[in-house]
């Protein structure tokens, strides 16, 4: 209910995205790369849903809710959409990684790179 200094939840979201950037830049294992993208999407989702928080707010659902302010509904809807989109992207990426592994016998992005130039 009090003002949290330094926008802590936003900072957490940014750091989560930062860690995932580290994974995407430095890790060569394709599964780890996918995990990095999943973490990045979690960071963005956390950011979005934190944007909609209102101090002391209730859920924006009128069924048996106590009186008082409500948190913003739109960021929650955006987050829901974004989560489903990320599930879809991950499913497709994992499918392709299965094929890459079947073709090259390796999950290392350096070893499996056949396209050059």
């Amino acid at each position: 209910m009090e003002y949290i200094p330094l926008n802590f939840p936003f900072l957490a979201a940014a750091l989560l995205a930062g860690v995932s950037f580290y994974i995407i830049i430095f890790k060569r294992n394709l599964i780890k790369l996918i995990m990095g993208i999943a973490m990045m999407s979690s960071g963005v989702n956390l950011f979005l849903v934190a944007l909609g928080y209102r101090a002391g707010g209730n859920v924006p659902i009128y069924t048996d809710v106590p009186e008082g302010p409500m948190v913003l509904p739109v960021p929650q809807a955006l987050t829901l959409t974004s989560i489903v989109i990320n599930v879809a992207v991950l499913a497709l990426m994992l499918t392709i990684v299965i094929h890459i592994y079947r073709h090259t016998g390796s999950l290392d992005s350096e070893k499996s790179r056949r396209l050059k130039g």
Binding site: V59, I61, Y62, T63, D64, V65, P66, E67, L80, V84, A91, L94, T95, I98
Partner: protein, 153 residues
């Protein structure tokens, strides 16, 4: 395929998971949840069956073709509900004020009435159908491929 204990328990549990999933879908316009969430609950039940019985056994009762038809049907119902408002505007909530799901709840906090929400409950069902079929089909296909089974077209 896992041991008999796991299979028996999974067989019993799937009923509860189905009921809970349907509850979440059906009350999406009143309580937290909705088509996506309830669909994910039921799809996780299907994944439990997949783990307990294995993909070959599960495939005997759940064909990919059936799942694909279910998914397309769900998507078509959703799109059709959106198209039905085209007399006014695409996505116009044409059911508000009609006897079907058309009641308007009193403004402010309240106990909630099932017959409200316009086309939202129907869309929840369409999306639920789609999500159940879609997620199950994707997981089943991955499991079948991993175990070297042939997929049907």
């Amino acid at each position: 395929m896992l041991s008999k204990i796991v299979r028996t328990v999974a067989n019993q549990l799937i009923v509860f998971i189905l009921v809970f999933g349907l509850y979440v879908i059906a009350h999406g316009h009143l309580t937290p949840g909705g088509g996506f969430q309830g669909g994910a609950v039921i799809a996780s039940g299907v994944v439990m069956l997949l783990v307990a019985f294995g993909s070959k056994e599960l495939r005997k009762s759940l064909r990919e073709r059936v799942l694909t038809i279910m998914e397309s049907t769900g998507a078509l119902i959703f799109a059709a509900l959106a198209f039905a408002g085209l007399g006014t505007v695409f996505f116009y909530n044409f059911l508000v004020g009609t006897p079907v799901f058309g009641r308007i709840p009193p403004t402010g906090p309240g106990p909630g009435d099932f017959w409200t929400g316009g086309f939202v409950p129907l869309m929840n069902f369409a999306v639920g159908l789609k999500v159940v079929a879609g997620l199950s089909a994707a997981v089943l296909a991955l499991a079948l491929f991993a175990s070297g089974e042939e997929m049907e077209e």
